[in-house]
Symmetry: C2
Subunit: 433 residues, 2 copies
């Protein structure tokens, strides 16, 4: 399968007018050779396999810029509660019982769901990240991994060491499919000194930083009380910005905060459904984009969403902004950009997020031969306002097919579902006494 | 197929604690005989067909309490525009060109999509409603039809007469699957005198009224200027309330408005995604429910949504309210109630919306044997926060299967999609000159 030709409708995400209603993509090994109308592949390409998908739209694989994959273990375990009881009485006690094996299986479940909903790359933050890395290698997806570090927790130092080991062992693994970032949890869970140590070590190892930032009004209040600044100002003063930084959420920002993020090229991972479900607020996404800040889309963990479906996230991103501002805000194509090319930029990945020659062949096909995709007036509007996870038919990562006709080719779905069901219920039962 | 037994997980929607993990529903002709755990069917039931769905959740078919089905013809034709140019330059000119045949095919497409996303009943408002009725009879779904009447339009009188004819010809058609209501469009498009004539005629014929109400701040301002009241106060003064009234949207309400709706048993059709996409606002759903107002869920037309998927609508309803108030607002089971039993009450249908003996067998099955439905901690949370349209496997209306394994049994999907594509593109082309 080293030379593949895909024939389909193609949305390369290289510009709002770029679309090939009868298109063709030539792929050799892990990379795209050509993208264009039918007959545009090099004359001497000599494809070994032709994949005909005339009723599908092929586009870049979606990129989830902020998640905690293994939290699928807690999916629908606790919902509709006030934030603090939800965390203190439900989420944290459950998480404290998760073993490395639980995290491995929970991540496999997350990856199965992500692949089936068209996500080919995730930026993950959790514990036991070596087991997360193993799951990613097995699934065949792409990922950027960060060991979450709560500096103020008893295991803050251990997490710091594990972050260094994670870089040494997984940065560049799977022929480069896995990258690593440092994951200091948030300004309110890490001291300034701790974050500066993290930044120094990240710089030494040449990796970026993934952090929760300005997620809730409570966080703003806490940091204001502690240091008299906004969380963004505080990170700037500590010298955390300047390199590659992904800030998740960024719901509560001042004008000055947004300027700081723009000037320091901080990328923002926007999580609309989590922000709505937890009553965090509406992030100033159009304002950030207007200032030149790169924004990607994320699902956050499955316990605050409760799925890992970026199609739903795209629709919610658009609707949430239109509700807040006006109906013209965040048009469909811009939302698609956030989920693809913006996601790649957010994660610092130079050769995914668009379908162009030389880029990695990370792509998905969406089955448009269904009632809800007719009439076909606008492919971007259909993808953002109409499509759902179940419409994804084909998924390819690094030139390898990992889903065909919705069947996962790398994972044993039945086994994964059963393992997670057994493990999650066993943990929950320990609290039922 | 006069005696059918369905074995599945069953969520009858009779109360938050009612769930049969290994359940059984006995159905004779069009009605439910029994619902309960395995073995609960009458000993002498003698089923002629057994449908085994051990990994599916069976629940009442979803009820769409406000839509304009044929507007699928305009799906993704115009989006992300300011409201008035969108209506005046795009939607209205397009609609003016729709023939009865176009509306017939557009409605068939809508019904195909609705069935595939688990909706068994709709309350529709549009023109050429006899053709809509024909489509419903063909599809085998249930519907309440209302001929939209814009009193101030040149065809206001014609629409009034067509409404009367619609009652005479379609009220009770399809063994009662079709009911009819009167559809005066809105307080700002019908004079007080016109609405009073409508009410009088509706009373004479014994049918209810379906109206848009308090959808936008503009509407509030217009009515205030015209009559010095809120739209709700105005309708009350005109004597429109008192019988069966479905008020769509109800986004902008005063405390007094809500009391009026409650006292007059006006039912509200809530359309969260349309309200967000068009920047209409967030309807006070928890407040209305607290006052005892029955609230159902609707999709509105496909041009302002752009799908007819009530699973998405359930999630958006919950998320929109949580964003506005707090994370405990509108818990999952309450959302399910709005989409089922609340929908039935809204439409004045006495024997659908729940799975109980004696009710019509309108039900759907959702395939829970998929990664995103594990672990199975909460069926209601999974249905509201996780499920999407593509998860619906089986649909039955009036005791007849109309979808199995996602295959539509009553409609020729390919033909419908092609007809709509041709017709919609032909109309759009007339504006391209």
């Amino acid at each position: 399968m080293s030379k593949t030709l895909i024939r389909a409708m193609i949305l390369p995400m290289t510009g709002p007018d770029d679309f090939f209603p009868e298109g063709e993509i030539a792929i050799e090994e892990d990379r795209i050779v050509s993208v264009g109308p039918k007959g545009s592949a090099p004359a001497d390409f000599g494809s070994e396999r032709v994949i005909d998908l005339p009723d599908d739209v092929v586009m870049p694989g979606l990129i989830n810029t902020h998640t905690h994959a293994a939290m699928t273990m807690l999916r629908s375990y606790a919902d509709d509660l006030p934030l603090m009881p939800w965390l203190e009485e439900k989420v944290w006690p459950f998480e404290a019982k998760l073993s490395g094996e639980d995290i491995y299986w929970g991540t496999l479940l997350a990856l199965a769901e992500m692949i089936q909903s068209g996500t080919t790359t995730m930026l993950d933050m959790y514990a036991d990240m070596d087991r997360v890395g193993d799951a990613v290698l097995e699934a065949g997806t792409r990922a950027v991994l960060s060991r979450g570090m709560i500096g103020n927790a008893p295991n803050g130092e251990k997490a710091f060491q594990e972050s260094i080991e994670l870089v040494e062992r997984y940065h560049g693994a799977g022929e480069g499919r896995i990258q690593v970032m440092f994951g200091p949890h948030a300004p309110y869970t890490c001291s300034g000194e701790y974050m500066q140590r993290v930044k120094k070590e990240a710089d030494r190892l040449g990796v970026g930083i993934h952090i929760h930032l300005a997620e809730t009004q409570d966080e703003i209040n806490i940091i204001k009380q502690q240091v008299g600044k906004t969380p963004v100002q505080w990170l700037k003063e500590l010298g955390i910005f300047g390199g590659h930084v992904v800030a998740a959420h960024c719901v509560h920002l001042t004008e000055e905060d947004m300027d700081i993020l723009a000037q320091n090229k901080v990328c923002v991972a926007h999580n609309p459904e989590s922000n709505m479900k937890l009553n965090s607020g509406t992030a100033p996404v159009p304002e950030l984009r207007a200032k030149g800040v790169v924004v990607g889309l994320g699902t956050d963990g499955a316990s605050s969403n409760n799925n890992l479906d970026l199609f739903g996230e795209m629709r919610s991103a658009a609707l949430q902004q239109k509700l807040k501002k006006d109906s013209t805000t965040l048009p469909a194509y811009e939302v698609l950009e956030m989920a693809t090319v913006g996601g790649a930029q957010t994660l610092g990945l130079k050769d995914v997020g668009q379908l162009v020659p030389g880029y990695k062949a990370d792509l998905i096909s969406i089955n448009f031969d269904q009632p809800h995709f007719y009439p076909r007036f606008s492919i971007p509007a259909h993808l953002v306002y109409v499509a759902h996870a179940g419409d994804v038919r084909t998924v390819m990562v690094d030139g390898k097919l990992i889903m065909e006709e919705r069947k996962l080719l790398t994972l044993d779905v039945k086994k994964i579902c059963q393992e997670v069901e057994t493990r999650a219920k066993r943990i929950a039962a320990e609290f039922a006494d």
